[in-house]
Symmetry: C2
Subunit: 309 residues, 2 copies
């Protein structure tokens, strides 16, 4: 045995020792002057496994008469942090337990609800009650819970559940919407495909947007967005089709400033919806925000019951 | 004046004071027992500006008779870290000044050359000499320098410089190649657009891949990749067209394991090239690596002189 290995096996005489099933160095807990010290191995993989397997149960036992803390994150899109906190002003001002902490992400806002009680069950009840109160006020903008769920994932799963097929026609976003959608495993069941019609000629020849639409209204127009979505839906024969056209920047186009965006959503047996935006980020930011808005348009459409199939 | 503001104006009697044009707290340099101490404001914006405007010139003056250090990062694709370091083994073993440090990134390898000399000019000469020696051995895989340049950006700029138009047909990558390409400002001059043919039907009806190709060879085949690239090039009438087909995972498809990928590059007036890969990452990782390989195929094609236009 190497001298170095021998040293790794040393522990404090009065300590509590934690085993290391995947490495050499042991973990120890010692107390001195009413303070507790945890000594854990350095490699993250070993540290994490030891913490999960030994340290967490040890601490739970040791502090079992203490309070439990539980958090849940609610995710919102299509509402700013200031509007959200204004609408929830009374709740936030009067918060004691649970507490409500707003956080402004890159394109969304999250609220973390944290409860503190004797047991996990009581915490959960407190969190769920607060969640219900919040959703009664701003539920329209709530798309999911947790730290992991993305808007694309939530929409992809809703499409799969409701068995609605979809296609896309992308101009300024250059395929970003579709590449986000295909992150959802199994999406090929409902996602047929799409066209990236970056140049005007591609919009006409490949996608089939009528020449007069582009000549009369330009490529950055609600009329062009509507035509793009409807052409994609026909080409791919899907229940839904979404289109994106606009100016990513940094330069303007057709005398429209960078950040001007039109998104259209075509439905089988229903009118095509179209929305205009004016974003003020950089080239990539405008594009990412456009894609998020597109996912949100689909989410709201799927929530509505008026989609005839 | 608040007491707190007054406190922020305090400095050491024997210190050298740095002004803070955008905040309250001043910076100070003091010496004690032959050690130098820098005291700087906490807010990153104030710290950074003070460091640039006052501290860097102060330190340069103070240590003007000291050595200069200069680094350059070389970026490689299509070669593993172990192969690269084996090929450069002698150079790396004998390194003194400049030093050569290899680093394995997610999909690429970088080498950092660091020189140490009396002046910046001497450093640059040393770095450039070492760079030339390295490129004489592994130059084929070198695509750019610096910490910022991406393979997509390098390829986009090469397409713009050589005025070669391009289109794409994407299956497993779902639009990721195109959304990376459109990050390059001005790319609309050469990038026409593309098709995301995710389902088999989209490959046939929208892209125009002959039914017998898919029936005989399947979608995950070199034959399908070639047909996809050639169909895209004809549809969009471009100089080049690239196609991606394969199995992103996690499940297999057509009895081909996850990670099986075919990439084809069609050229005006030239044979279509096709390459097969077997990646072993997760769904997103396989897709990202596929896109990088695609960009590298285009880069190598543009370096070759045999592209008739």
């Amino acid at each position: 045995m190497m001298q170095n290995n021998e040293r790794q096996a040393l522990v404090f005489r009065d300590g509590i020792v934690f085993p290391n099933p995947i490495g050499q160095a042991l973990g120890t807990y010692i107390e001195k002057n009413e303070k507790g010290y945890l000594l854990l191995p350095g490699p993250p993989r070993e540290l994490e496994q030891m913490f999960r397997q030994s340290v967490t149960p040890f601490l739970s036992d040791k502090y079992e008469d203490q309070q439990v803390i539980l958090s849940k994150t609610l995710r919102f899109f299509g509402i700013g942090e200031s509007t959200l906190t204004t609408l929830l002003d009374e709740m936030i001002r009067n918060q004691t337990n649970p507490t409500i902490a707003p956080y402004a992400g890159k394109y969304e806002v999250t609220l973390r609800i944290t409860a503190n009680a004797a047991t996990e069950a009581v915490c959960e009840k407190l969190v769920d009650e607060t969640k219900a109160e919040i959703l009664a006020i701003v539920g329209e903008h709530h798309y999911g819970d947790g730290d992991e769920s993305s808007l694309a994932e939530v929409v992809g799963k809703k499409l799969l559940e409701s068995k609605r097929s979809i296609s896309a026609a992308e101009s300024l976003t250059g395929g970003l919407f579709q590449s986000e959608l295909v992150k959802v495993p199994g999406i090929s069941e409902v996602f047929a495909g799409g066209i990236v019609s970056y140049q005007a000629e591609a919009k006409q020849r490949v996608l089939g947007v009528p020449e007069h639409v582009i000549e009369t209204y330009g490529m950055v127009s609600p009329e062009c967005a509507v035509a793009m979505a409807e052409c994609a839906r026909e080409l791919f024969d899907t229940d839904l089709a979404i289109s994106f056209t606009g100016v990513a920047g940094p330069d303007q186009m057709e005398n429209k400033p960078a950040g001007t965006v039109w998104i259209a959503l075509s439905k089988k047996n229903g009118p095509t919806a179209v929305q205009g935006f004016r974003f003020s980020r950089d080239r990539l930011g405008n594009r990412e925000q456009t894609v998020m808005q597109g996912f949100d348009m689909i989410r709201r459409q799927l929530m509505d019951s008026d989609l005839e199939r």
